[in-house]
């Protein structure tokens, strides 16, 4: 028998431990990186001598580590590190707020669809299927083109294109939990439907909801970077990780550092949330196997 045929039950204890350790170590690293990014964006700007919108045209295109500008300056002589930190505030906030809105919509839609089933469930879930037919970036850009761009619009639109996966998860959970004894007992006690849905069923589905929420933050940060890079998200002079890359392509030959810092920040943040979500999935319920 080769190593390839070993199932998880046949693994040596050490191997199984290594497996858990490896998984959790990545999730842990993700959590630490997220903490560093959040703290850096929140408090970093107070420690820097430069303002993120301060223009110093004499010092434009200063490369990283030249003088006081640790990450260099951009085409207007603004400090890249200061913009990176202020951009982090915007990008991370959008990621988290969009997640909260998407979760709220997804949980409500999923709970109603899963609890009532029948026509209500079918209509709601077909709506979910229909919205999922639109490729996310196309839908997001079309909606962004029709509205006034800005912080609030971008956040709401990202949430509007990200709630469907949550609705599917919650619907499946609520539909399965609805028949369980505790739900039937609550019904026998005379609890209202709303109470059973949101005080009994949804809290019992908290594990997959938390996983979905974490992965949703990653998705929202990524989507913000796409719309802002394409010019329909956060508008200058305000910085976001996406719109810092807006002009980077033009200056790729002369000032490549402009493209590196924000790109690395986005990748770090998204990877960290994805690993955290993966780790949570393994930790909370190993049988929950959504690829």
């Amino acid at each position: 028998m080769t190593a390839a045929t070993l199932t998880s039950a046949q693994l040596a204890p050490g191997q199984a431990a290594w497996r858990r350790f490896r998984r959790h170590r990545l999730a842990l690293a993700g959590a630490v990186i997220i903490l560093v990014l959040v703290l850096g964006s929140a408090f970093g700007p107070y420690l820097l001598p430069f303002d993120d919108t301060y223009i110093d045209i004499m010092k434009r295109f200063a490369p990283p580590l030249s003088g006081a500008h640790i990450l260099g300056t951009d085409e207007l002589g603004r400090d890249v590190l200061a913009r990176l930190m202020m951009g982090g505030r915007v990008s991370l906030s959008i990621g988290i707020v969009a997640m909260v809105i998407a979760m709220a919509v997804g949980i409500v839609v999923g709970a109603f669809a899963g609890f009532y089933g029948g026509v209500v469930g079918a209509v709601l879930m077909r709506l979910v299927d229909a919205v999922l037919c639109f490729p996310t970036i196309f839908l997001l850009l079309a909606l962004a083109a029709l509205t006034e761009p800005g912080l609030v619009t971008t956040t709401v639109l990202i949430a509007a294109t990200a709630w469907m996966a949550v609705a599917r998860v919650v619907e499946a959970q609520v539909r399965a939990l609805r028949e369980r004894e505790f739900a039937v007992a609550a019904l026998a006690f005379g609890s209202s439907n709303l109470r059973i849905m949101f005080r009994e069923l949804v809290p019992n589905a908290i594990a997959p909801i938390m996983v979905a929420a974490t992965l949703n933050v990653a998705k929202a940060i990524l989507l913000e970077s796409y719309v802002s890079y394409l010019g329909y998200g956060i508008q200058p002079p305000a910085a976001s990780w996406g719109n810092m890359l807006n002009n980077a392509q033009i200056y790729l030959t002369s000032a490549p550092w402009l493209a590196i810092a924000p790109g690395v920040a986005i990748t770090l943040a998204v990877t960290s949330f994805n690993f955290l979500g993966d780790g949570l999935r393994d930790a909370l319920d190993p049988r929950m196997n959504i690829p």
Binding site: W18, R22, C133, F134, T136, A142, Y229, L230, Q249, T271
Partner: protein
Amino acid sequence: MARYVVNRLGQAIMLLVIVSAIGFAILHMAPGGPLSQFAASAQMTQEDLDRVTRQLGLDRPLPIQYLDWFGRMLKGDWGKSYRDGEAVLSVISSHLGATLELMATATIIAVLLGCWIGILGALRRYSLFDTLATVGAMIALSIPTFWFGLVTIYVFSVKLGWLPAGNRETVGDGSFLDLLHHLIAPAMVLALVETAMWGRFMRSSMLEVINQDYIRTARAKGMPEWRILTVHALRNALLPMITVAGLQFPTLLGGALVAETVFTWPGMGRLFLDSIGYRDYPVVMGILMFSATMVLIGSLLADILYAVVDPRIRVG
């Protein structure tokens, strides 16, 4: 089988109706609605606007307008571009070829590379290769496609000078080799996310199959390992990949939009962004509906194909 197909087709048509209703709602969300193009002109008086409203039938109740619009969509009348007055459908079809070329190339790379990585990862589970592949796939899924494009341009065009930084062909050349040369970088960039997805799905599908009883039986009767893998494991593990192809389609289309933008590739995605820039709403809406319909048809075909190759689906 026929019953399954009819059933699935019915679902798809119902979904198309909902999709079109969403599209119609978005169209009417535009500032000023479908009238905005006329309202923007200073010479238009309120009287003119009222007349246009009547001419376009915009004073009728919304459900009637929707039915009218949906009927015209079905007949292939998707309106005219604000920019040059060309029919939306012909504008889209003239850009479709470049997009399909990019998507097909990226898919071929992703399927071959992704399946290879996934199968090898499943066979050597928790080996160094598998660990690196799993972590690598997660990072690949987290990198913004446009940024990976920028890095690719910087490394292969700016620094090494091996690949062109954009466009589909050199002006005045356009030979097969020239086209291929231009295709490499955008296809590679688009293939990154796809490869990661295919690898992940392939790995879990292969792991599922490898632990089945019939594999153990094959092994017990002394069948050579390569034959077990190719004849029994791989054939069954590849089946669910048909569904993955359907599921992947929206991501692939979205990725193509981004890759086309970075590499100034003259495809549908770039046309979409240009049209947004020009506030050319008929083309924007046309591409939005077109892409959603493509996704719908893609998932329908994937489901039907899956039922053809796997009888368990259509019976159960």
